[in-house]
Structures are given as structure tokens and as C-alpha cells.
């Protein structure tokens, strides 16, 4: 099963302030540990929301609304993620606990979310087929 370890944004990360050298080193060491254990699939840090875009649909069936960042409420935003493949929920928690405190100053927060597999969502194969077709269309669109 896959888990995403989501590192929440803070005032500092939103301000684009670089983390300390110690933290960068510790994070690097942690990522190496994940790689050596064969569990790391992907990991990235995100730019502050000042460079982000939000698209919302305030009216059902209406046109989307596009808002440029920055956004408020740092805690609701993401500063980075780490995607791991593990055998159990507990293993995911154990790995997450080994991640260094991502911010310090009492602001660090990591959220664990399990990645849903298509089979988890439904056993309705007709639905899966529709969903697959939909994804296919989306892919085609992204390609063109």
C-alpha cells in the first residue's frame, strides 16, 4: 500500500525562507534511509503558495474561478510530500515518525494519507470502466 506523507506549510515555508542547513542535512539523510530500505517512490518540496494558482467552482455547472496565490491559512497548505510503498499502516507511521521535524519552532506537522487504489473505491467494474475512459480522455487532452 502507498502512503503520502504530507508536510504542512508554515509561515516560514510560505515566506520562501530556506530551512536551516541542519534540517536540510537531516532530511537528506532521512530520504537516503527510505531509498536504502526500498520504500521511497517519490518526494518533492513545493514552492510557496505565492507562486500557486487556485481554481474553484463556486457555482454548480458554472465557470471556474481562477485565483492567484498567495493563500492564507498556512496550516491548510502543503510544503512538500513523500510517497512511500509499505506493507502496513503501522509501517507508514513508523517511517513518518523517523522523518525529522520538518520545521521546528513547534510548527512542524506531517499528515499521512493512504493512496486509494482503484479497487478500494469500488468493486463495480462498470464504474471502473467509465472512470478509466474518463482518465483516458484527460490524458489525451493533456497530450494535445
Amino acid at each position: 500500500m502507498r502512503f503520502m506523507l504530507i508536510v504542512k506549510a508554515t509561515i516560514d515555508s510560505e515566506a520562501g525562507k530556506m530551512p536551516s542547513k541542519e534540517l536540510i542535512d537531516a532530511m537528506q539523510k532521512y530520504n537516503e534511509e527510505l531509498v536504502k530500505a526500498g520504500v521511497l517512490l517519490a518526494a518533492d518540496g513545493l514552492q510557496p503558495s505565492s507562486n500557486g494558482i487556485r481554481i474553484s467552482y463556486p457555482e454548480p455547472g458554472g465557470k471556474p474561478k481562477i485565483i492567484d496565490g498567495p493563500f492564507t491559512e498556512a496550516k491548510e497548505m502543503i510544503a512538500g510530500y513523500t510517497l512511500i510503498e509499505v506493507k502496513s499502516r503501522e509501517e507508514a507511521i513508523e517511517w513518518a515518525l523517523r522523518m525529522p521535524d520538518p520545521h521546528g519552532f513547534g510548527q512542524g506537522e506531517i499528515e499521512l494519507r493512504q493512496v486509494s487504489e482503484i479497487e478500494d473505491l469500488t468493486n463495480d467494474f462498470e464504474w471502473i470502466e467509465k472512470e478509466t475512459l474518463l482518465r483516458e480522455k484527460v490524458e489525451e487532452k493533456t497530450k494535445s
Binding site: 526500498g38 517519490a42 506493507k87 503501522e90 507511521i93
Partner: protein, 416 residues
């Protein structure tokens, strides 16, 4: 935390730490069974202590220290009785300090892997022992993966450890020319593990993919500790790309779907990218591509193609030719025939297939007449195709395949 939560957490920690523990302890006591016993002892102590005291900050180090203490006690006792331990016991002080660096742990894991995949063991024993000691699976999990009983696996593991002991198999990474031979055995074990999970269409649905995941995980670990071996990256690339199709290769009835008919949107893009990256690492080492890297390169051609028609068939045909040179097998040649026919037309493929017809080792291989029938249909030679499909139907042992061949044979009758 409730008791069962703590136990599940300890399970998870065990999974992360057990191979490292067993590897470090084997280096210390030079005996796999003893090493596993000490590691297990530490686990038992943890199961007793941690629910009361809470889980320590660095559970891995805690387990390692506890297990080493057990080992040292044991060696002190044995020292008086057994000559064998005198020398080891003289150096025990160096094990009491926590001086082991990451690099050394990686090397120990590698040594352990070479031990569990040693050629003195049977293929089955290598796989079972590797799953147990390097992947930290329980005998029950291994038994369920191989659709056999727990006692069979337990016995297999006990016997394997005994064999390693009596044959005095050393805890070391082989050197020189021997390294390549032994490495290929290790890779074979990992790929066997992977295929056991991958090719299974029956059995416990939750447990069999576990084998694929374990093999991939072990491959990724190996690629880190022995990063200058191109074939390790080749094998990882092959497993990553094949895993990307895990979900697309079986239909709602649990029947396998051929690569050509799979819904490519369901392929896992992340695993494909990881596979391509691993293949890149293999190629970057600049040596002649070995069988795993070549198979991965073929898999990569499929992975990168949006449709069957848009696949780079000439490149696949060339890669099969290269593969045939390092791994001469009529089955590789048959695959090349298919690629050639896709690239340059069925007549060219048929030429190779007809040459293979003379090969006695493929005499009873149903895929040969099946491929032949397919090419003959494309060439409009329906009567010959009919006979080929009939022959394929008579050779396969799989009822569903037989039906499919008979159906294709009857289609030849109506077409002609």
C-alpha cells in the same frame, strides 16, 4: 496505545529492522541460525517491555543492542565449551560499541543476501530463506504466497540454515570472476520471487502481490548497496515496468489480458518512470547490456508506446536479437519473430517461426503453432492457419487457452 496497537507497531518496526539485525548478528557470530535466534530474542524482549515502557525513541538501535548483548552472553558461555568461539569472543568488545555505520550495514545485508542465495541450496530453499531473513516475512506469509503449508516452509528454512552451516558457507561478498556468477544467482532468486507473484492468477489475492512487492523492494535495496552492477539496475527496471502493469493485466473474471489488449491508461506512470530511470542507470555504467537490462529495455519500448501500432517494433526486434546473443533460447527467438512481423510484415516473422519449427525443444510448445497461426491468418493462408491453431489447441494444458485456439481455428474456416 492499546496492547494490540503496540504489537502492530512492533511488527512494523520488526519489518524495517529485522534484516539489518540478522545481518549484523551473522557477521558477529558467523552462524545464521544463532543470529536469527538472537534477533528473535530481542523481539520477544521488546514485545514484553515496550507495552509497559512505551516504544523507545530509536527502536532499531534498542533492538540491535539487546540482540548483541544476548549474542555476547552466549559467546562468553560458549567460549569455555567450544574452541570455535574463542577467537570471536576475543573481539567482542568491538561489538559492544555502536560504531556501525550505514555503509557497513549495507555491506552486511549484501553478505547476508549472498548467503541466503548460495548455490549449495536448492532454488526453493533460496527463495524461502531470502523472504524470511531479508524481507522479514513470517513462515505463514511465505507459505500462503507459495500455496503450501506452513510446516513445509518452516522445514525448508530449518534445513537450508543447517546446510549453510555444515557446508561452512562464509558470510562474505564473493570476489573476482566468482562475483558475476554468484550475483546472477542472487538476481535469479529475486526475479523468481517476483514472477511467482506476477504470473499467479489464482490463490490468495492479497498475499500474492506481496511477493512482487517484496522482490521489488529487495531489488531496490540491492541497487543501493551494489550500485555499480548494471544488471541489478536492469532487474529493478524490469520489475518496476512489469509492476506498472499489475492492475491492467487481469480482467474482472481474473483472466489474464495480453499486453496488446491491456488498457494502457491503467499502467502506473510512476513505476514506469522509476523503471526508465533504473534502466538509465544500468546503461550509464557503460557495459554491454545483460539479459535483465535487455528485457527491461524491451519492456520500456512497450511502456513508452501509446498504442500497439505506435510501438517501436524495429527496436524491439533488435533488442531481442541482442538478448538472443546473451541468452540463446528458442523462446527469445519466437518473440523476435513476433517483433519482426510487427516491424516488417508477417512474411518475415513466419520465416523465423518456420525455422524454429525444426527445433526439437519447442516441439510441444503451444505458443509456437499459435504464433504461426496468427501470422498465417495475416497472410490470408487460412487453411494452414486452421491446422496451426488445431495443433496449438492439442498442445496446451490450459482449458481456456484450448477454447481460444479452437475458436480461432473455426474463424479460419469461415474466413476462407
Amino acid at each position: 496505545m492499546t496492547l494490540s496497537e503496540t504489537h502492530r507497531t512492533i511488527d512494523a518496526i520488526w519489518r524495517i529492522e529485522s534484516a539489518k539485525l540478522v545481518a549484523a548478528l551473522t557477521r558477529m557470530v558467523r552462524d545464521l541460525s544463532l543470529a536469527e535466534d538472537f534477533a528473535q530474542d530481542a523481539l520477544v524482549i521488546a514485545l514484553d517491555h515496550w507495552p509497559k515502557t512505551g516504544i523507545p525513541d530509536n527502536p532499531g538501535a534498542w533492538l540491535m543492542t539487546t540482540a548483541k548483548r544476548r549474542a555476547i552472553d552466549h559467546m562468553r558461555r560458549r567460549k569455555r565449551q567450544d574452541q570455535k568461539y574463542i577467537e570471536i569472543a576475543q573481539h567482542i568488545d568491538m561489538f559492544t560499541e555502536d560504531h556501525i555505520f550505514d555503509g557497513e550495514i549495507g555491506d552486511d545485508l549484501l553478505r547476508l543476501l549472498f548467503m541466503t542465495c548460495h548455490p549449495v541450496l536448492s532454488q526453493d530453499a533460496r527463495v524461502a530463506l531470502t523472504l524470511r531473513l531479508l524481507c522479514g516475512l513470517t513462515t505463514d506469509e511465505i507459505a500462503r504466497s507459495f500455496l503450501t503449508s506452513e510446516s513445509t516452509i518452516a522445514q525448508r528454512i530449518v534445513r537450508a540454515k543447517k546446510t549453510l552451516n555444515t557446508k561452512k558457507v562464509p558470510f562474505e561478498v564473493p570476489t573476482g570472476a566468482n562475483l558475476q556468477v554468484r550475483l546472477s544467482t542472487v538476481l535469479e532468486v529475486i526475479y523468481l520471487m517476483f514472477n511467482e507473484g506476477y504470473s499467479a492468477t489464482s490463490g490468495d489475492h492479497l498475499i500474492r502481490p506481496l511477493l512482487c512487492q517484496e522482490a521489488l523492494r529487495l531489488g531496490r535495496v540491492l541497487a543501493e548497496v551494489a550500485s555499480d552492477e548494471p544488471e541489478i539496475h536492469g532487474l529493478v527496471a524490469l520489475m518496476e515496468i512489469q509492476s506498472s502493469r499489475l492492475k491492467a493485466r487481469i480482467n474482472a473474471e481474473g483472466e489474464p489480458i495480453l499486453l496488446a489488449n491491456q488498457n494502457r491508461v491503467q499502467w502506473d506512470r510512476l513505476l514506469i518512470q522509476r523503471g526508465l530511470a533504473a534502466l538509465g542507470r544500468s546503461q550509464k555504467l557503460g557495459r554491454t547490456l545483460g539479459p535483465y537490462s535487455l528485457q527491461a529495455a524491451i519492456a520500456a519500448c512497450h511502456a513508452e508506446a501509446p498504442t500497439v501500432q505506435e510501438t517501436n517494433w524495429p527496436r524491439i526486434a533488435a533488442l531481442y536479437e541482442a538478448l538472443f546473443r546473451v541468452m540463446p533460447s528458442p523462446i527469445v527467438e519466437l518473440n523476435r519473430a513476433v517483433a519482426i512481423s510487427m516491424a516488417f510484415g508477417p512474411a518475415f516473422g513466419l520465416q523465423i517461426v518456420d525455422e524454429l519449427n525444426a527445433n526439437p525443444s519447442l516441439k510441444n510448445y503451444h505458443l509456437l503453432p499459435s504464433v504461426r497461426g496468427d501470422l498465417l491468418v495475416k497472410l490470408g493462408r487460412f487453411e494452414e492457419a486452421y491446422a496451426a491453431f488445431k495443433r496449438a489447441a492439442s498442445l496446451t494444458h490450459n482449458e481456456r487457452e484450448r477454447e481460444l485456439y479452437l475458436l480461432r481455428a473455426s474463424e479460419c474456416k469461415t474466413d476462407s
